[in-house]
Subunit: 150 residues, 2 copies
């Protein structure tokens, strides 16, 4: 398992597979984002840029998170302490039922916490890809990871 010391600036990984379904889009929207373009095909057609049922942006980031966690070992990654924030989140294209999502991550910064011993901070640029190559969402996660136990 990787600890903070195992991450290097410039590391790029591609992984993950998440199929977007109409049921998943509507289920998420009903609970958290019940706007017409996230609830039905007709609602999406009334939107000037979406052109049909479109996943909530927060559903897209949730699906990205599901792909990130699916890479961790069963029961959790002992080094992973979550994220303190996100910079420059952009929803680049409407995500629709039938899209097959995957991820590309790149470590763009890695440094020890100044205030918290045993903590490393990574900046990970994360791109959600559709059909393996088209970016549909991008953000930089401010990730907290433990240093290797001594």
């Amino acid at each position: 398992m990787p600890w903070f010391e195992d991450y290097q600036v410039g590391q790029v990984r591609r992984f993950g597979r998440y199929e977007v379904t109409a049921q998943g889009v509507v289920d998420f929207a009903r609970r958290y984002d019940p706007q017409p373009f996230h609830l039905s095909e007709e609602g999406g057609r009334a939107h000037p840029y979406f052109g049909g049922l479109t996943a909530s942006g927060w559903h897209v980031t949730a699906m990205a998170m599901a792909m990130l966690v699916a890479e961790m070992p069963e029961g959790g990654d002992p080094a992973a302490l979550g994220a303190s924030g996100i910079d420059e989140l952009r929803w680049l294209k409407p995500v629709k039922p039938g899209d097959l999502l995957s991820l590309e991550t790149e470590v763009i910064d890695a440094r020890l916490s100044e205030g918290r011993p045993g903590l490393g901070r990574l900046q990970v640029r994360t791109t959600v890809l559709r059909q393996g190559d088209e970016p549909v969402c991008r953000f930089t996660a401010l990730v907290m990871v433990r240093t290797r136990p001594s």
Copy 2:
């Protein structure tokens, strides 16, 4: 209903009410972020800063979205076209079952789209508050709203 022209830089609003429950935290985590500290009290206690079951950060932003949409009229706000992105999202404090969330929004920028006629772009600084006054999450939403139909 407000159109782009009705928003003014400096407008501040406080609204919303969302009670965080253990069942809601675990349901979201099982689907999208199944890390130990989002799944059980014991998992949360093993985290060095969370101290018990803690909502996924993406669940916190989803609950914020639910409060934003709850302010819109039944069937949707005809001016609301969603958001193109988020800047400077920060999870400031662990959000836990029993917390009562609300929102404060402030319009910090408002301008017409240069490329898309009929579209206005707002920057809305959004703060999720706990128990009415303690900020637990903050982000700036890049919101798309229609101009008033002529």
